[in-house]
């Protein structure tokens, strides 16, 4: 395996990390208007993702940066070709970032409601487009012989890519609800468990259909040997079926592990189906961008490999430590007493129950 192949895997890993982590905070965001009983529960939902969403989003920033550095031609064609779609993603993500920071900064109910909806809409729109966009890489978009995108916004959409978008949204909803069941307690936790029960079957159906279709696209359209993409696809189907069963038995820890696995396997299926290509051309198959023709030169990849080998383990350690610090469940049956700052222990946030 050469360095371009290694970096293809690393880009896939970064996307998997992004989907796995931001997936549940997107899910929590989408559930904001519907799940909580009151504003206090809504605050608690946001508290479960407050400390981590920004770190989760950096996985996307790094996936973008790694694609730029390791596959400049892929980055150039994908980002210029998916122009309007990415513009929408940016708008959704900006709305979301601001809602996290600004929602609690205004006092009146209308301000808070506006930013709550901004979060929900952003959390819905961004994964929808990522689902469509990643499946379009595999399904093919118009690319000419010099590697330039020649289509428009509509070229991203086909029944397959739309199913990809819907699947990602449904899966993230279930993943977010499963996350809430391990991070909250009391009434909110019950409500999250109910949502996970209702949302996981449609997510499972969509995911199984999408994974099967992905294997078909990889084999039939892209002339791919049957075995490799069907392996992660089959595992993904098993994972999501397990998630449904575990959610029904309220084995919340294992259920979240299962939705997480299903999410990672979704990305893995797309990328194994894609290899050795990175972006398929629907104009002429041989115009497709490949790992070989889109990658950077050896020296750049070698430098980047050393940097990644040193930093990625460190990042994983401190991100894991963050989750460990904030492992306590949020909320509970008792309403927290908001204590005035003078009485609170120096610098302490008012305790929020269990």
């Amino acid at each position: 395996m050469g360095l371009p192949q290694l970096w293809f895997i690393l880009v896939a890993v970064l996307w998997s990390g992004y989907f796995l982590l931001e997936g549940f905070d997107f899910g929590v965001g989408m559930l904001l208007p519907f799940l909580p009983r009151d504003e206090q529960q809504r605050d608690q939902m946001l508290e479960t993702i407050g400390p981590v969403w920004d770190g989760n989003e950096v996985w996307l920033v790094t996936a973008g940066g790694a694609t730029f550095a390791a596959f400049p031609a892929w980055y150039a064609t994908m980002f210029s070709g998916f122009y309007l779609a990415l513009l929408l993603v940016l708008v959704f993500l900006i709305l979301r970032v601001l809602s996290f920071e600004w929602r609690t900064k205004g006092a009146d109910a209308r301000w808070r409601r506006t930013w709550m909806w901004a979060n929900a809409i952003g959390s819905f729109g961004a994964p929808l487009i990522w689902g469509v966009g990643l499946s379009a890489l595999l399904y093919g978009v118009p690319i000419d012989s010099s590697g330039n995108f020649t289509g428009d916004l509509a070229s991203l959409f086909s029944p397959y890519t739309v199913l990809g978008g819907v699947t990602v949204v449904l899966l993230f909803l279930a993943h977010g609800a499963a996350y809430l069941t391990i991070r909250t307690s009391g009434d909110l936790c019950d409500r999250a468990a109910g949502a996970a029960r209702r949302l996981s079957p449609p997510a499972a159906v969509a995911l199984v259909a999408f994974l099967a279709w992905t294997v078909v696209v990889a084999v039939d359209r892209n002339d791919r040997a049957a075995l490799p993409p069907s392996v992660p696809a089959a595992l993904g189907a098993v994972a999501v079926a397990a998630a449904v069963a575990l959610i029904h038995r309220r084995r919340s820890g294992w259920a979240f592990t299962a939705t997480a696995a299903a999410t990672v396997l979704l990305v893995a299926t797309i990328f194994t189906g894609l290899y050795p290509r990175v972006m398929v051309s629907s104009t002429a198959f041989h115009n497709s961008l490949t790992v070989a023709n889109a990658s950077s030169a050896h020296y750049t990849l070698a430098v980047m490999t050393v940097v990644a080998a040193v930093l990625v383990p460190v990042i994983l350690v401190y991100q894991a430590w963050t989750y460990h610090v904030f492992r306590a469940r949020v909320g509970g049956p008792r309403a927290p007493e908001p204590s005035p700052p003078e009485q609170a222990p120096a610098g302490a946030r008012p305790a929020t129950g269990a």
Partner: protein, 464 residues
């Protein structure tokens, strides 16, 4: 080379300029306010004086409001290279992509993870560990400034590369990250960030002094902000002018354009202000105020130095790169250079005056000065914006100095309509954000410390 519509290129340039300048209104504040808040918390940690804890919360909230916009608008910057400038991205990706990816791995993860720990970790971490988290986040933000400036500096002064099949390939990562330009730009940017943040902290204190309230809290904050502001604002004036000598060596066209120096000269005067003389058709100003010898000093480090004029540089460039116009738009460069330098000097003046008044114990009663300092807190931001216009417009017609022209670097796949749509979207969205941000900042900067704007318990609340 693909023919690209000049309208598309112009719109893409306007979009890059708008979104970068906007992004950079928030970046200096993040770079500077982070360490200031960390110093406040460190002082609390050391002295156990509650004043510093209240100040940490107070300015920490302002820091977070701005950090949010910095993050949101930074994502746009990363996507924009590929979206609008795909030819550029393919050409530079081997070299320019690396610092961008390293910025993500080394800096953004550090910054975002530890900031999350700081915001939510008050009662879950030991005080010492909690304080360390903030310093780690500050280190992340400074590292990110360094790596993005490494990337930008390569566009100004390409080093450590060779051209293979029409692409720049990296040959020395050491040359890339120790590029002299990058080191200068980093120090200049960090000093600008500290200046901006200290000026804002000082202005907030002055505003509270005009109301005569919470003096016991804002007196130490004003003192701290001046202790930072006086040296950094003055040092940046000196350092910035020293940076000019490097720029003169590597991009002589930029400096000659900034000084409207058409002909070669020795012991050249510096033009403080002039009317006319900013285009090749009318190279002699109808009115000007000059300081003898100063331009030679600023661009060569000696009052006797020789400066090559625009006309000769243009001829040299035509010899090297073929026919074309190699002069950046002169009046933009001339005035952005002065905007930056004059506003920077005013900030230094405010800091020194403020320190004198504080020393004589008259700061709180000198109302005209308090208002001057409040208005003056916008100067570092304007100066930064002018500085980037000078840096980026002054490099034109190149997108990468000497290697790739801006006019042939945009995305062939992207139509003029698409760029127009995205420009309209960003301008509208950013305008709304600016209004909301200023409103929030005023609300929080003017509130009673220790309480939210409506008397609600102070930060950190769930969801920030």
């Amino acid at each position: 080379m693909t023919l690209l519509s000049s309208t598309t290129v112009d719109l893409a340039r306007i979009q890059f300029a708008t979104t970068s300048i906007y992004h950079f209104l928030f970046v200096p504040l993040t770079l500077g306010l982070g360490p200031l808040v960390a110093i406040m918390q460190t002082l609390w940690h050391r002295t156990r004086d509650e004043t510093w804890l209240r100040l940490t919360h107070f300015f920490g909230t302002l820091f977070l409001i701005n950090f949010a916009i910095g993050v949101a608008t930074g994502l746009v910057q990363e996507f924009q290279f590929g979206m609008n400038w795909s030819v550029y991205s393919k050409f530079v990706g081997n070299v320019f992509g690396a610092p961008l990816a390293i910025e993500g791995l080394a800096a953004f993860f550090l910054e975002s993870t530890f900031l999350g720990l700081w915001i939510f970790g008050w009662d879950r971490l030991s005080p010492r560990l909690h304080l360390l988290c903030l310093w780690a986040a500050v280190a992340g933000s400074w590292l990110s400034a360094y790596f993005i400036l490494v990337a930008n500096s390569w566009m100004q002064d390409p080093v450590g590369y060779k051209i293979v099949n029409g692409q720049a390939h990296l040959t020395s990562v050491w040359a890339l990250i120790t590029n002299e330009w990058a080191l200068y730009a980093f120090v200049h940017t960090i000093l600008a960030g500290l200046t901006a943040a200290a000026a804002v902290v000082f202005a907030v204190c002055c505003w509270h002094f005009t109301r005569g309230r919470n003096l016991e809290l804002f007196r130490p904050a004003a003192k701290l902000s001046l202790i930072v502001l006086v040296p950094v604002a003055c040092a940046n004036l000196w350092f910035g002018s020293h940076f000019g000598i490097l720029v003169t060596r590597l991009q002589p066209m930029k400096i000659s354009a900034a000084e409207a120096q058409w002909n070669n000269c020795q012991r050249c005067p510096f033009s403080l202000f002039q009317v006319g003389g900013l285009s090749s058709s009318q190279p002699t100003p109808s009115f000007s105020i000059e300081v003898p010898g100063l331009l030679s000093y600023l661009s060569t480090g000696s009052f006797d130095g020789k400066v090559t004029g625009l006309n000769e540089l243009d001829t040299q460039y035509r010899h090297m790169y073929g026919p074309g116009n190699y002069e950046p738009p002169d009046w933009v460069i001339y005035w952005s250079m002065r905007g930056m330098a004059y506003l920077g000097s005013l900030v230094a003046l405010i800091s020194v005056l403020g320190a004198l008044l504080l020393w004589r114990g008259r700061l709180e009663r000198t109302r005209w000065f308090l208002w001057f300092a409040i208005v003056g807190s916008s100067f570092p931001f304007l100066a930064s914006a002018f500085g980037w216009v000078l840096t980026e417009v002054g490099r034109q017609p190149w997108i990468v100095q000497g290697l790739l022209r801006t006019s042939s670097a945009s995305s062939p796949a992207v139509s003029t309509t698409w760029v127009a749509i995205s420009l309209a979207v960003f301008v509208t969205l950013y305008a709304i954000l600016l209004v909301a941000d200023v409103w929030l900042m005023r609300r929080y900067a003017g509130r009673e410390p220790g309480a939210g704007p409506e008397g609600a318990p102070l930060e950190p609340a769930p969801g920030y």
